[in-house]
């Protein structure tokens, strides 16, 4: 899209509700001013906007976001109780746990994802999974360091005919694996539907004594000498990291009549080695999607030059 086209689209959005005017017409006006009369783009935009303000009988203050909220990207939401405008795709809809909530789920834009809640009493149109919406006047909220947005009675929902490539908030960390924490190795999870809690001594916190299902995971610590990161490998990640598959781990535990031999074996294989992992964060953990063992021979040259120079 050309620069002028972008400006035209933005102007069009501001007047779409008030005027029957196409993006093409607006672009043509801009084009005349900029390319024929050599008016700077910013001045051309101001002039064209003023023309449409007159036509619509509006004041400049009426434009954009009602109360003049800031249009923000999801990754920039970093404080509660701020009124903002967002453009986002409905990534997932979840089952509301309360009648007060009409819809709850996950919104995403290029920069990341955020939870949203839409109250029943706010009487807003239904959002569809996969739909892209411009949401004006939503309010941010925070719970235990995680942010969300709430749609409310004053929110304006506008469905857009476009798609957004939702960005993940993956982080990449590297360092030496200096610890494998308890609760790693061969574990048992609660078999109840939608409950995947890890059993403690055969008991689930929620469902009491149950016949658990075996799984593998590693809760580890990567340390680069300056910062520490807790990292969580799921079954696939654990198999990838240690080369020990679930069936093999079960056999090992069976032979030893003890599940802890699995974690011991894993510790011996991976502790003290260097890794680079990436994945989304959850609480204080990095959930490992991809991992790489850093086994290249290290290159001392650059550090040596620096060391000699001071």
């Amino acid at each position: 899209m050309t620069d002028l086209r972008t400006h035209a689209t933005e102007i069009h959005e501001q007047f779409a509700d008030q005027l029957e005017v196409s993006v093409d017409e607006i672009e043509e006006r801009l084009d005349t001013l900029v390319n024929e009369y050599k008016v700077p783009v910013s001045e051309a935009r101001r002039s064209v906007t003023n023309t449409y303000l007159d036509e619509a009988g509006m004041e400049r203050d009426d434009l954009g976001g009602g109360g003049g909220n800031e249009q923000v990207q999801l990754a920039d939401v970093d404080a509660p109780e701020e009124w903002v405008d967002i453009t986002a795709k409905v990534v997932e809809l979840w089952e509301p746990r309360s009648d007060a909530v009409a819809q709850v789920g996950l919104l995403g834009d290029e920069t990341g994802t955020i939870k949203f809640t839409k109250w029943s009493k706010s009487d807003l149109p239904t959002l569809d999974e996969g739909g892209v919406y411009h949401l004006r006047n939503v309010v941010t909220d925070e719970y235990q360091g995680r942010f969300s947005v709430k749609l409310n009675r004053t929110t304006v929902v506008e469905e857009l005919d476009e798609d957004i490539e939702v960005g993940d908030e993956d982080v990449t960390v590297e360092g030496a694996l200096v610890d494998i924490q308890s609760g790693s190795g061969l574990i048992k999870r609660c078999p109840e539907e939608d409950c995947t809690r890890v059993l403690q001594n055969g008991r689930c916190n929620e469902h009491g004594e149950v016949d658990g299902e075996f799984d593998l995971r590693i809760k580890g610590v990567l340390d680069d000498g300056e910062t520490v990161h807790e990292v969580l490998f799921d079954r696939e990640g654990t198999e990838d990291l240690t080369g020990i598959a679930l069936e093999e781990a079960k056999d090992m535990a069976m032979d030893a009549l003890d599940t802890s031999v699995v974690a011991d074996e894993m510790r011996a294989d991976v502790l003290g080695r260097y890794y680079r992992v990436s994945g989304p964060t959850f609480g204080r953990y990095v959930l490992v999607d991809e991992m790489e063992r850093l086994s290249d021979p290290a290159d001392p040259e650059a550090v040596l030059i620096k060391a000699r120079s001071i």
Binding site: D223, G225, A268, A298, D299, P300, E301, V303, L304, R308
Partner: protein, 209 residues
Amino acid sequence: MATTPTREVARRVFAGEFNDSTYTFKESDDERAPVYVLLPTGERANRVFVVGTLMETEDVGTDSEYWQGQVIDPNGDRFYMYAGQYQPDAAAMLRELEPPAYVAVVGKPRTYETDEGEVNVSIRPESISEVDAATRDRWVVETAERTLERVQAFEADAPDDPDDGATVDEYVAMARQQYDRPVENYRRLVVEALESLEADDELEASADD
């Protein structure tokens, strides 16, 4: 919400500097507050990560097993570590490993004063694992980088120039006060360690000819 205590980072330090880190302190009066050794380059350490060659292991216990391990770094300096009944995994590793072997050790710095009044610094290992040469080489370069960063930060904090604009780091100031050891020594450890890696490379290269 109760704040979970953050895990202490494992410092990277060559044995020559580690063994000079004889001054210990706590940050609070709490009995369970973590104990730090002060690195002479001006950083506190409550945990270290070292990779080197395990040279000797010996059960030095009288009543029960108490294993000593000696790990050498590229400068020929040794880390001393002790593991007894309260570090069963580390003690088992020291019992079973056949020196020489490359090992990675995560542990806590400990100091004790000898009858002669000398302070010895050692490691109480949390874990010991056998690793390969590439891991060891990577540790040497990483430790060189971290040490060099500390040396640079130390030197940027000139004590005789209160107006140099640099904020005086708490631990740099503490190191200046507690130790009388030129940090130039530790820069030299960095250079020597890295040169030893390069020499290894050249040896391998000429062996290939």
